[in-house]
Amino acid sequence: MTGTSGEPVPLGRAAVPPGVPPSVHRARQRQAAPNGIWGMVLFLCAEITLFGTIIGSYYYLDFNSVHWPQAGIAPEPVAQPSLATAWLVVTLLPIWWANRQAHRGRRESAIEWILFALAVQAGYLAFQIHLYINDFHHFQPQHSAYGSIYYTLMTLDHAHVAFGLALDLVLIVRLATKGLSNYWLIGVRGLAIYWYVVVAITVIVLFVQLTPSL
């Protein structure tokens, strides 16, 4: 059997150097992204497309309406959602760091940083829900097409974040109970990728949300 450059590749498990968790060693030996990461990235592609179509629908409705937002709805204030989103962007740092720590075999540190990120992200979500309820006092999705697409977009975006929080929690529990198994080491990397994408989507959603105000 030959690999890329022609030299034989043994089909079997390589010996693990002492002091390194087997999963970490395996991650270092890998030339390509593992299947789990491929799967996560592809699911996120579907997610991005879903948000892309919703955002496209937003502009389609916008372009085909004489008034946007429809009469009776004031444009969003800019400051609060922007601040909240900036807050969420900052949480990428602990997530990124947790992933690095995990790939150095430092389980406790990884757990702590995910926990930290979880707390900050939960704060973000709580604030956003507060804004959401405020909006709801001003206008409802049944008011007009603007209300419909606005609430659908925001709800899905927040649900995305909420699902991320659940993933954080799962990772914390799993890393604490099962340790850095190969499965969950890939899980931490998947989690990090998930958050990168969610935050990117949230930034774009913010821009869409503020379109009428700009």
Binding site: T4, G6, Y59, Y60, D62, F63, S65, V66
Partner: protein
């Protein structure tokens, strides 16, 4: 060209034209929907925009074709490649794969550019926002 070329170069060669077409396509749609919709949000000079986008896409696609040509010629000169081509393009990677992708890229970019040229020339001949 250094050998083996980076993945980025190879995949630019394969996907440059199609991606440029996709950008041209989506941007043009966005502009026409924005201008011809009932809201009439924007009043852009659409013909120049269309031509500009098409020319940009064309340039990227031509660059991708140039990359593919170089890859193709380079891999064709690599001794046993000729024999490999006869065996159905299944040569030893990475050279075999890159040769294969270069053939793919040449065709793909050519087709993508045809679309860009068709719409780049065709659209300015029509009246904007005239209902079909």
């Amino acid at each position: 060209m250094s050998w083996p070329p980076s993945n980025l170069v190879v995949w630019f060669g394969v996907l440059g034209g199609p991606v440029a077409w996709a950008v041209q396509f989506v941007a043009n749609l966005y502009f026409t929907f924005a201008q011809c919709g009932r809201g009439g949000r924007w009043q852009l000079p659409l013909h120049p925009w269309n031509i500009g986008l098409s020319v940009g896409a064309l340039a990227i696609g031509l660059a991708a074709i140039a990359v593919c040509l170089r890859l193709y010629r380079h891999t064709s000169e690599m001794g046993p490649m000729a024999a490999i081509v006869r065996r159905g393009f299944g040569g030893q990677p990475p050279a075999g794969r890159i040769h294969f992708l270069a053939v793919v890229g040449l065709t793909v970019n050519f087709l993508a550019l045809t679309i860009v040229v068709m719409t780049g020339i065709g659209a300015p001949l029509l009246v904007f926002c005239q209902q079909s």
